[in-house]
């Protein structure tokens, strides 16, 4: 199998890497995370100009028809730069849901605005009780003559403070745990009845707790049948997030190796000590294994079917354990500096730790795999 990047992917990687190097150094990123907005609107416009917002969408809607593999090339670079712009919430989650489940008119209108950089989205799915389950949804939507109204509580909605529209998963029929009866809705977060408690997350991104009190909502696509679209989108999102994790882990490994070459103790660089060399060798192996698992996950998830969710869970388990080892060793080998605010290592560590908790933690996915194996 040839895992080399093709011409287009190579140029996309070069272009993204150059942006990170020239315009997104660590200090710039730190200023952005401390700003009120939490990211740069100028960068968002640039992403639109560069075509990054159009990458995974069909050409029929003005997209570029990129594959999941193309997306992981970009996501890995975004991970290397710890990019905080809401690309994941808008393009990978919100945009993909619209493409998969929206009506023809919703797809063309919303995706066109998204691709132009005029629409940011957030996916309000998780609830305090649901623990990464897609079907354990209490938020409900009632239909009246005026349309649908949503009531419920959504937890840790990433990118919500900057979103122009929320894509909300709500129950229109059935009970908690049922696959049928789940629907997706578009909600304007500025309207009365939406209470948003926004906060910066531990890794410098923005999230929010959102409460809906009989809020007017527009149905996205067909009623009661959103489960497959949500599942497929979350599988894609796990692959994209894992690509970001690979970028983060490689940065942590390189920073640690470089540091161990120059930091001296007992008259020699600490990288000369065999015990530390072993640790770095372990970090390297974990990075490589995660990268291999990422390629496997990307190919399998893109193929769809039952195997897709299985592969996504396997990938998330690997990212969780490898990320933990690489992140913690990087901090250990750097010493106290490894968690200081002034050094990027601590920030990469926070991001890799947060990635483990997003879209279901390592333990949750491992339990899912065990349950599936027992049921088989």
């Amino acid at each position: 199998m040839d895992f080399a990047l093709n011409d287009i992917q190579q140029m996309l990687q070069d272009s993204a890497a150059k942006f990170i190097q020239n315009d997104y150094d660590f200090e710039t990123r730190r200023r952005l995370t401390e700003s009120e907005l939490g990211y740069s609107e100028e960068n968002w416009k640039l992403f639109a100009e560069l075509g990054w917002l159009a990458l995974p969408f069909d050409e029929a809607y003005g997209g570029l028809g990129g594959s999941l593999t193309d997306l992981i090339v970009l996501q890995t670079e975004l991970g290397r730069g710890l990019v905080v712009e809401p690309y994941f919430s808008t393009v990978v989650l919100g945009g993909n849901l619209i493409q998969r489940h929206g009506s023809e008119s919703q797809q063309s209108e919303l995706l066109e605005r998204l691709i132009a950089g005029e629409l940011k989205l957030a996916f309000a799915q998780a609830e305090p009780q649901c623990h990464s389950s897609i079907t354990d949804i209490e938020t409900s939507a009632e239909r009246s003559e005026e349309g649908y109204h949503i009531t419920g509580h959504k937890a840790v909605v990433l990118g919500a403070p900057s979103a122009d529209l929320l894509v909300v998963a709500a129950r229109t029929s059935g009970n908690r745990g049922d696959q049928n009866g789940l629907s997706l809705f578009l909600v304007d977060p500025a309207q009365p009845g939406v209470t948003m408690q926004a906060y910066p997350t531990n890794d410098g991104f923005r999230g929010a707790e959102i409460r809906f009190d009989s809020v007017k909502a527009t149905l996205l696509g067909e009623v009661d049948s959103a489960y497959d679209a949500i599942q497929a989108t979350l599988n894609d999102a796990i692959v994209a997030l894992s690509a970001e994790a690979v970028g983060v882990m490689e940065k942590l490994l390189n920073a640690t190796v470089e540091f161990c070459k120059v930091r001296k103790q007992f008259g020699q660089p600490i990288g000369k000590f065999q015990v530390l060399q072993h640790r770095m060798a372990d970090m390297f192996m974990e990075c490589e294994q995660t990268r291999s698992m990422l390629y496997f996950g990307a190919i399998t998830v893109a193929g769809g079917g039952e195997e897709a969710s299985h592969a996504a869970s396997m990938l998330k388990v690997k990212v969780g354990s490898a990320g933990r080892l690489v992140g913690q060793q990087a901090v250990q080998l750097h010493g106290g500096m490894g968690v200081s605010d002034e050094l990027d290592v601590g920030h990469f560590f926070k991001r890799i730790t947060m990635i483990n908790t997003l879209l279901g933690s390592r333990d949750e996915h491992l339990q899912r795999l065990i349950r599936n194996a027992q049921a088989a």
Binding site: D7, M11, L12, D14, S15, E49, L50, G51
Partner: protein, 258 residues
């Protein structure tokens, strides 16, 4: 007006160069390659001249192995209209020297008849800073080297090129008649990032492949590379206890003040 812009495939400027253990050359095994940064500036300037309506066509040219087509595709993604690749795969054992490059480019210039040729002032691998000047001599065209600003004025048929050059201690502005050769300095412009739609379109843009033999140029190295060495390692600094000690060291050890 047609612009020919020349690009070279070199080691990516972020890569830490390794010398082969026998010091015979730089080790290129598994090393990331990229477009020479000065050539990127040349491509950007050509594309800007096209966008401002001064130029009508931008042709990117490179000389090198088949892999050098990657750099031509990058130039096409940045806005060049078509590309010419002079494939030297058959001469893989020869070092392609500046004079050979200039001769090959002179043939391309003869065929294409451009109004302007833009090159990087030097490539970051060999730092020769020769090709632009040699090309100007071989093609019999005026040259504006180390350009930090390029302006084209005048009516069709009588266009003039103003080039501001970065020279020791200041700037020099010269006026050239067209066609002319320009080599770019670092501050001429800031190259753009390749846009994804343009990257995809670049795949479909035309690329001519020629060999040195097609252009009747013999590739034979006349300079032998004897030895390559890494720069001497920087010695660690020291802390001095007082101003007097500093002055003493500057005077007697470093000998930078008397």
């Amino acid at each position: 007006m047609k612009i020919v812009v020349c690009v070279k495939r070199v080691i990516d400027y972020n890569v830490k160069i390794r010398v082969k253990p026998d010091h015979s050359d730089v080790d290129l095994t598994n090393v990331k390659m990229a477009m020479n940064p000065f050539c990127e500036i040349a491509v950007e300037e050509a594309v800007r001249l096209k966008e401002s309506g001064v130029a009508t066509e931008v042709v990117a040219v490179t000389i090198g192995p088949k892999a050098a087509q990657e750099q031509l595709r990058t130039a096409l993604a940045l806005g060049a209209d078509r590309a010419v690749h002079i494939d030297t795969s058959a001469e893989a054992n020869e070092r392609i020297e500046s004079l050979t490059v200039a001769k090959l480019l002179a043939k391309v210039v003869e065929e294409e008849q451009p109004g302007l040729v833009i090159l990087g002032k030097q490539a970051i691998d060999t730092d020769n800073n020769q090709t632009g000047q040699m090309l100007a001599a071989l093609a019999g065209l005026p040259q504006g080297t180390f350009a930090s600003e390029v302006k084209i004025s005048g009516d069709e048929g009588d266009k003039k090129l103003q080039v501001t050059r970065e020279i020791d201690g200041g700037l020099q502005t010269i006026e050239l008649s067209l066609p002319a050769i320009v080599t770019t300095d670092l501050r001429l412009n800031e190259p753009r990032y390749a846009k994804l739609p343009d990257i995809m379109k670049a795949k479909k843009k035309p690329m001519d492949v020629k060999s040195p033999a097609d252009l009747c140029i013999e590739v034979a190295s006349k300079v032998t590379l004897l030895k390559v060495e890494s720069p001497a390692e920087r010695k660690g600094g020291i802390k001095v206890g007082s101003v007097d000690e500093l002055v003493d060291k500057l005077k007697n050890e470093a000998k930078v003040i008397s």
